[in-house]
Symmetry: C2
Subunit: 136 residues, 2 copies
């Protein structure tokens, strides 16, 4: 279960696909070129690599290919986060959060948002034996 990791360009491609659900190589290239320069052939090469990794697949549409993700962003974040916590914080998720809270590079707004999340979570778990109600 190794090498699930994506390189920079690979991640950019996946992000475009997650955002649009499906896209041609050309559309992906154009989308990326909106923020940073990349050659079309590079994108195509990386799409092939991503296909080998089973992160995306393609389907002919007219005379071109349409690519779509095989992995959801949430799934990817899941394994990327697990990897990261394992590597950098020895598996301690709370160690990571402690670091975030101490960190000057996390804005006070973000910290407030984090606190809200925790309170939310606390509220949820107090009434968790029943099936949970969602109020938007």
């Amino acid at each position: 279960m190794e090498s699930k990791q994506l390189g920079h360009v690979q991640l950019l491609i996946m992000q475009v696909l997650w955002h649009r659900d499906r896209a041609t190589a050309r559309e992906i290239t154009d989308a990326i070129n909106g923020t940073e320069p990349i050659a079309h052939s590079t994108v195509q090469t990386m799409l092939r690599v991503l296909e080998d990794k089973m992160a995306v697949a393609h389907e002919p549409q007219g005379r071109t290919f349409v690519f779509f993700p095989l992995v959801t962003e949430s799934e990817f974040r899941q394994s990327a986060t697990q990897d990261f916590v394992e590597r950098i914080f020895g598996g301690s998720a709370s160690g990571l959060v402690a670091h975030l809270l101490k960190s000057d590079s996390v804005s006070s707004g973000e910290i407030a948002a984090i606190r809200r999340l925790i309170e939310q979570q606390a509220a949820d778990s107090s009434g968790r034996n029943k099936n949970r109600r969602n109020e938007s």
Copy 2:
């Protein structure tokens, strides 16, 4: 500010150094070999690379070198976390925490620990209005 990122072996080496403060190449090799096989010369090569990156430095001691870290674990975690949040969660630290809280792979014990951290933080910041207070 270029590639501050460390490879797998590089990280193992740094972890040994953070743990012991100073160590010879041989000691590092032995420490790593406690958990996974690595050739001594590989460690030496990586130490050279880490030295180029200014992550470690060495000092002659007797007729061998003693290596020591130039970067603290905390500093490293700082930049690694910042990078990670930027790449995977689009810069949103709260997005990361939200993910951790939802994640099945984080134990309830860890989640409780995280909640405790937040409460702690809240207590801290109530007595901290000297530096700056947030708008909440």
